[in-house]
């Protein structure tokens, strides 16, 4: 099974102190460190495990620029055989539909049996996977928490339902799945692995190579425009209990009983 995983490079929320820039249009990016979007790591791990079982290959793709090669290499160190970078100056400020169009065009050029994305990106909106499926006219399942290969071209896909329930769906390949964290334990990518793929050539595709109409991507092609970016003011409602530890515990138990949290 040939599997494509769409990945994204995001500012690492646990290792940065995110601040807004002075214009209020974006976050301050000068001192940020980036990593692979957490959900995408699970998607790649799942792809690697599936490929191992079905004797297949894993390719990772991202839309971005040369800086984003770093995460493609990391995923290759993890075990992905191939990677590709979709990069075009004209696509820089595409909205989510624009990104999905680029990825769709990539898939049409390079067909795969299964396409995985993370459920969402840490700085994203959980839209690209679904849009790609629609554009490709492939079946789609989101919030996937387990995948089982039934026979050559069928999958049993478990999805998380709010409230802790699960549903199982039968789907035919090719399809698009958005992968939830916790589906597996992503392997560690050590420095050694990264060094070994440090000089691997990563093929780059621009919009014209993918046959994309530039009017559909970039700022001009965006149907959604970001108009503001801000940190919400802290609202009231949080109460900080004071006193000795015993007093705090007593008060907390009292409050929890009053609100019905404790019987």
């Amino acid at each position: 099974m040939d599997i494509l995983v769409c990945v994204k490079r995001v500012p690492d929320t646990s290792e940065n102190e995110i601040e807004l820039n002075s214009a209020g249009t974006d976050i301050e990016r000068g001192d940020l460190v980036y990593s692979v979007n957490e959900w995408d790591n699970y998607a790649v791990e799942e792809a690697l495990q599936l490929a191992e079982k079905t004797d297949g290959n894993v390719t990772v793709v991202t839309v971005g620029n040369a800086d984003d090669e770093e995460i493609l290499r990391r995923e290759m160190a993890m075990g992905a055989k191939r990677s590709a970078l979709v990069s075009d100056e004209a696509c820089k400020t595409s909205d989510r539909a624009g990104i999905a169009s680029l990825l769709t065009a990539f898939v049409q050029k390079n067909p795969h049996d299964l396409i995985l994305t993370g459920v969402q990106a840490e700085d994203g909106a959980a839209e690209v996977g679904g849009m790609m499926a629609a554009m490709l006219d492939y079946p789609f399942a989101s919030l996937v928490s387990a995948i089982e290969v039934v026979d050559g071209n069928k999958l049993m896909v478990s999805r998380e339902i709010e409230g802790g329930n699960k549903e199982v769906n039968e789907m035919e390949l090719p399809c698009v799945l958005s992968i939830q964290t916790g589906i597996n334990e992503p392997r560690y990518v050590g420095m050694r692995g990264i060094r070994q793929v440090a000089s691997v050539e990563i093929p780059t595709y621009d919009a014209s190579q993918l046959g994309i109409d530039k009017a559909r991507v970039g700022q001009s092609g965006s149907k959604v425009q970001r108009v503001n970016y801000f940190v919400p003011a802290p609202s009231k409602g949080a109460e900080i209990l004071g006193g000795s530890r015993q007093e705090i515990v007593d008060k907390m138990i009292e409050l929890m009983k009053a609100k019905g949290g404790l019987q």
Partner: protein, 699 residues
Amino acid sequence: MVTTVPLPAAEWYGVGQILFIALHVVGLAFLSYIFYKRITPLLCAEKDPRFDRVLVRLGRVFQYWLAQWKHPRYRVAGTLHILIFGGFITLAVRSFDLVTFGLSDEVGFSGEIGHWYDMVTDWSASIVLLCMIVAAVRRIVFKPARYAVPERYGKAHTADAIFLLGLIAVLMLCDIVFAASNAAAHAQAGGVVEALATWSLPWALYKGMIALPMPVLLNTRLSICIVHELTFYFLLCYRPFGIQFHVITSLFNVYFAKLDRGTVKPVRWGVTDLDAVPYFGVKKFEDFTWKHMLDFYSCADCGRCSDNCPANAAGRPLSPRFLTIKARDYAFQHYPVFSQGAGTGAPLIGGIYSEDEVWSCTTCGACEEECPLMIEYIDKIVDLRRGMVDDGNVPRSLQKALNALESRGNPYGKMEKKKAEWTLEKEFRQSCKVKILDGKERASTLYFVDSITSYDDRIQAIGRATARVLDELGESFGILGAAEKDSGHEVRRFGEEMLFLQLRDQNVQAIRNSGAQRIVTSDPHAFNALRNDYRDVPPVEHVSQLLAREARSGSIKFNPVADGQAVFTYHDPCYLGRHNQVYDDPRFVLDAIPGLKRVEMERCRDRSFCCGGGGLMLFYEPKEEQRMGVRRVQMAADAGANVIVTACPFCMVNMEDGIKVAGLEGKMSVIDLTELVDRQIVRRIRTDKNAPTVEASTV
């Protein structure tokens, strides 16, 4: 010296010699074959250059093998072992005598030496026989806890132990009966009778045998020779199948033992280009070095390592003893003596070892310190971890910290530019300005702070105390600030060698740029890394060494301890004590404080009990019954102390947590040595008008 009586049945010797020669040939052939089979896996093992520093190694053999240096650490078992070992050494010649008796009379010492040698061996045999009885009684009746085999590791080893004790007892009995019957035969034949050592067992038996008829004596003597010969070869050939193997391998194991404390073996010996290594670490049995395999063979199953292992005590799934025993069982099973076999290349993790077992080790070194046979554990654990890291098999909680170390240079993922923020606390800044040695500012001493002291709210206080004390002592010092990365001490010991090398190279560069001529640190893990893992950096000291020097020269004066109720105890951090042998300096500083009452915990100095581990160990979520820190805090309480002094930021974290968990808040407290010095030091009154007069009131 065995002087034979002319035998009445001399003609027997014609047949007898053939019989004895046959026995020797068969025995030696078996022995050679068994050794050849046992050496086989060592030949396909990894390289391990241990052929240097011959004199040092011989010194080690003298101290730890011949003089049994570590044995008295366990009084009863140790004394028994020294007696048995001493007996074996003295009986070696006699034993050779007996096995060659059937061939020739001309072996052994003669004359005056022979006389004394016989006296000594009479006693040796008696003592060893008694020791066998005592040892068997210990095993069967008293059952010391450390010999027990937990269910998950299989059946008890008692039967094997008793069987071996029995075999040795038979040899000793042979010796005794031979000496007695030989002397009795000589006496009856009217020959020169070698005096037997008075009150020894041969002497007592001789008294009983003297009246027996000559043929009985001679036949006894001959039968004993045959029994001795058979038992001797059987035992020799049986040894390589179990715990008795150490009798043969211990000499080599001690000779080839690791000499450099505090270090970790390289990924592959003799390989400089790590990118060319196909994979890192130990994944299958054959990835161990030959010396590590020899370690497996040499384990005597005495259980001292696990008895001292804090992870074992806390109920973590790790017992160093079984780390070795399981590998030995694997070797015996896959490289069998009597059938064909070779390693299967099966992975060790998930096979004989579990992931949690390997991550459970804090690398405190208690097992290695205790092992009388100098078996190594830390290098093996690190090698196994390297293999797991290479396979991407790392717990999530550790992955986060490792990723942060890669991107930010510290396990917390904090910003580099905030590395020196601990120096900016308002009150501290007024009294002490800390230079940042970025090339523009210069100082002779570099204070290497490391991650936890830079970023942890509680531990920053240790950093400030260290800086204030250095300042008070008039040191010209500074820090690296944002250029300082984590020392990487645990990164290396958790198996992420390439990341460690990156951190080390960045630090070495920054240290060289600083122009400092020496390094001081308050973190024993950083101390060990800089001292034993780094190369080409200025000399490094732990702050306790500097403080002790100043206290010895009298340049520090201390105010008396104000709290009359305070009883202090010093907890030895593993990487200051065991790994770097700094035991006395912190104690000297403590004892220099007037009125300070200090007690020792039962487990102190080289038997110190690890607090729970430092560095990345703080990020690992172990499976355990009890925290090590809780146990340690209780040990301090048992010693009658109410203040624990330590000299390591991680000990501070673990023991403050331990106090809370043990419910000892208000009854027990922890203070870092530098914090205590900072509190008790008699401060100079500063004349500098710009600086405020510092705390003259506390004088």
